[in-house]
C-alpha cells in the first residue's frame, strides 16, 4: 500500500504541516530508524511511541532541523526542517528548574517571545511594543492556566506548574506546530491527565498541530488523532486503533506482542521487547529498515 494513503491526509486538504516519506536517521554511524512515513495535518494530535532508546527524541530533532535525515524526505510547514522554526514551538525533554533558580515564570515565558534578540530591554523605549509583549505573555499564561503562580520564581513551582509555564513559552509566538518530548515524564497521574487535556485543547481548539513523544500512550489516548510507533528497524503510522493492536505490533517487533484493553479503556502492551541490548546483531544486517510494516 502507498505509505501516504495509510495516514488520512490533512483535514483541510491543504499541504500537510509535517510530512516524512521513507525517512531514516543515523547517529554515530548506526541507523536508529528508517522507513518512517508520517503525515500530520493542521490541528492534529500525533503521538510518537516506541521502546526506550529507539530514537523518538531524535525524530523531534530531525523535525527541528537540528539533525539531518539520512534518507527520505522530511518537510515541515512546506519547507526543509529548520527553515520555519519561528512557527514551531518546542518543548525539550525536561530537566526541571532547580529550586535555586530565582527567575519568575513570566520571565521564562517571555524569553520564548524575544529571547533570541540581541541587547537588553531599555527602560522607556518602545513602550507600546512592550505593553503588547506583556499582554501576550499574560494571555498565553492564562491559556495554560498558570496565572496563579506565573509571578513566582520558577524554581519554586512544582513539576506540573513548570511544565505548564514551559508550554506557554513554546506557544507564545503562536506556532503552527508544537513538538514536545516526553512532557508527561516525571509528573504524577493527575498532572499527566491535566497536561494531556491542556494539549488536547490547544490542539483541537487553537488549531495547533501537536507532535508528542511519549512512552505511555494511556494519558493521551483519547486526545490522539494519529500515532507513529517506532521500533527497531521500522515504523508504523496510523490512527491509534489501527496501530496499537496485537497484529501490528507483533509484525513491527517480529516477536509475539499482545495488546490488552483493561475495563477502564487503558491499553497494556505485553511481551514488548525493551531496547535491544546487542546493537551489533541488528545493524550488521543490511538495510535495517527493510522489515518495516507497510500497512
Amino acid at each position: 500500500m502507498d505509505p501516504s494513503a495509510r495516514s488520512t491526509g490533512p483535514k483541510s486538504g491543504a499541504e500537510p504541516v509535517l510530512s516524512l516519506r521513507g525517512a531514516a536517521v543515523r547517529v554515530g554511524g548506526r541507523t536508529l530508524w528508517s522507513g518512517v512515513d508520517l503525515t500530520v495535518g493542521a490541528g492534529e494530535f500525533t503521538a510518537v511511541l516506541g521502546p526506550n532508546g529507539v530514537g523518538k527524541s531524535t525524530l523531534v530533532k530531525v523535525l527541528l532541523g537540528v539533525l539531518p535525515a539520512a534518507a527520505g524526505e522530511v518537510r515541515v510547514l512546506g519547507g526543509v526542517p529548520g527553515a520555519r522554526n519561528a512557527a514551531v514551538g518546542y518543548l525539550p525533554q525536561r530537566r526541571s528548574f532547580d529550586a535555586s533558580v530565582r527567575i519568575r515564570g513570566v520571565d521564562v515565558v517571555r524569553l520564548g517571545l524575544d529571547g533570541d534578540r540581541w541587547g537588553i530591554p531599555v527602560p522607556g523605549l518602545g513602550r507600546a511594543k512592550r505593553r503588547a509583549a506583556r499582554e501576550r505573555v499574560a494571555e498565553v499564561v492564562e491559556l495554560v492556566g498558570a496565572s496563579a503562580y506565573a509571578h513566582r520564581p520558577i524554581g519554586q513551582c512544582s513539576g506540573g506548574e513548570q511544565q505548564r509555564l514551559l508550554i506557554a513559552q513554546a506557544l507564545i509566538r503562536r506556532p503552527q506546530v508544537l513538538l514536545l518530548d516526553e512532557p508527561l515524564d516525571s509528573l504524577d497521574l493527575p498532572n499527566q491527565s491535566a497536561i494531556a487535556a491542556l494539549l488536547g485543547r490547544i490542539c483541537h481548539q487553537e488549531g495547533v498541530s501537536v507532535v508528542m513523544v511519549a512512552h505511555d500512550v494511556n494519558p493521551i489516548l483519547h486526545h490522539l488523532d494519529r500515532v507513529v510507533y517506532i521500533a527497531e528497524g521500522g515504523a508504523v503510522a496510523g490512527t491509534p486503533t489501527e496501530v496499537i493492536t496485537s497484529e501490528t505490533l507483533t509484525r513491527l517487533y517480529r516477536t509475539p506482542v499482545e495488546v490488552l484493553r483493561t475495563s477502564d479503556g487503558r491499553l497494556v502492551v505485553v511481551g514488548q521487547p525493551e531496547a535491544p541490548a546487542l546493537h551489533s546483531d541488528r545493524h550488521s544486517e543490511p538495510g535495517a529498515g527493510g522489515g518495516h510494516v507497510s500497512g
Binding site: L64, V66, N85, A86, V88, Y90, L91, P92, F97, V101, R102, I103, R104, D107, V108, L111, G112, D114, G115, D116, R117, W118, G119, I120, P121, A148, Y149, H151, R152, P153, Q156, C157, S158, G160, E161, Q169, A170, D188, P190, N191, A194
Partner: protein
C-alpha cells in the same frame, strides 16, 4: 589637603567604578550559569600570568589578560565534556599557583631594580597605585566588557535558562558560552588590578549573589548587581581613604560581603501559596 582630591584617589575612583560595573554585570551571569568555579580558576591563573610577564620582562597586564582570557576560553572548550575530578582540580590549581611563585623568584632575583612588592600587589591589588595611563586603559577595557555583555545579555539569559529551546530558536549557544568566558577572563584581569587576584572572586560573586537574592526579575537583577558592585567599590575606596590602616581591597571586599550577608536578613517578597498542581 583632602585625600579625595588627590590624583591617586581620583584614578582609583574612576578605574574602580568602571571595573565594578563590568564585574557586577559579568558576575550576575557567572552566578546564574553556576560557573563561579571558573572565577576561582581564573584567580589562580591571573597571578601566574602576571608573574610570568614580569619575569619575561613584559608589562604585567599583558601576561595578566593573556592568561585569564586564554584560560577562560580553554575552560569553555573543555565545557561539560571534560569535567575533571576534584583531585585533578586541586593539584592543577596548586601547581599553577606554584608556577607563579617560581616566576616571581626569577623576576626578583634576575632583574635589577625589580619591585619586590609586585607579587603582593597582584595578589591583593593596588588600586591606589594606578597611573593616569593605567587608569585610562582599565576604564576602556571595562567599558568594552560592559557594552559587549549588555549586547549579548538577552540571548545569553535564554541560553543559560533553556539551552535546547534557545538552540532551536537559532541562538548561537556555544559561541555565546565561549564569548562569555572570554568576557569573564577579561573581567578577572580587570578585577585583579582593583582587588587583587586572590579577592577577585568576591567582586564577581558577592554583588551578583546579593542581587539575585533581592529580585527575581532577571534584568532588574542584572542592573542591581552592577549598581551594588559600584556602590560597594565606592564605599570601600572611601573607607580606605579615610582610614589608611584599611587596605582598599579589604575595605571593598568587607563592604561587598556585608551587603551579601545583609540580604539574608531580608525576607524576599513572596506569595506564600501552597505548591498545588
Amino acid at each position: 589637603m583632602n585625600v579625595l582630591t588627590q590624583p591617586f584617589f581620583q584614578h582609583a575612583l574612576l578605574a574602580g567604578t568602571a571595573i565594578a560595573l563590568a564585574a557586577g554585570l559579568v558576575g550576575y551571569f557567572l552566578v546564574l550559569r553556576a560557573q563561579i568555579f571558573t572565577g576561582d580558576a581564573l584567580s589562580h591563573v591571573a597571578f601566574t600570568g602576571a608573574m610570568a610577564a614580569l619575569a619575561g620582562g613584559y608589562d604585567l597586564r599583558l601576561g595578566l589578560f593573556a592568561a585569564t582570557i586564554g584560560v577562560g576560553l580553554l575552560l569553555g572548550g573543555l565545557g561539560s565534556r571534560g569535567r575533571p575530578d576534584d583531585v585533578a582540580i586541586g593539584s592543577v590549581f596548586a601547581w599553577i599557583l606554584g608556577l607563579g611563585a617560581f616566576f616571581l623568584t626569577i623576576y626578583t632575583t634576575s632583574r635589577s631594580g625589580a619591585q619586590g612588592g609586585a607579587g603582593t600587589s597582584v595578589l591583593f591589588g593596588s588600586i591606589f597605585g594606578l597611573s593616569t595611563s593605567q587608569t585610562q586603559l582599565a576604564v576602556l577595557i571595562a567599558a568594552a566588557i560592559s557594552i559587549v555583555l549588555l549586547l549579548i545579555a538577552r540571548p545569553l539569559l535564554f541560553a543559560t535558562l533553556d539551552e535546547a529551546v534557545a538552540t532551536a530558536r537559532g541562538v548561537p549557544v556555544r559561541l555565546l558560552g565561549f564569548g562569555f568566558l572570554a568576557l569573564v577572563g577579561a573581567t578577572a584581569g580587570e578585577a585583579t588590578q582593583a582587588v587583587g587576584s586572590l579577592l577577585l572572586l568576591g567582586l564577581l560573586a558577592a554583588p551578583a549573589g546579593a542581587a539575585i537574592r533581592l529580585t527575581d526579575r532577571p534584568f532588574h537583577a542584572l542592573a542591581l548587581s552592577a549598581g551594588l558592585a559600584v556602590a560597594e567599590m565606592w564605599s570601600g575606596l572611601l573607607l580606605s581613604a579615610e582610614a589608611p590602616k584599611l587596605p582598599p581591597s579589604f575595605a571593598i571586599m568587607a563592604t561587598a560581603s556585608a551587603v551579601y550577608a545583609a540580604t539574608f536578613l531580608i525576607r524576599p517578597r513572596r506569595t506564600a501559596l501552597p505548591a498545588a498542581a
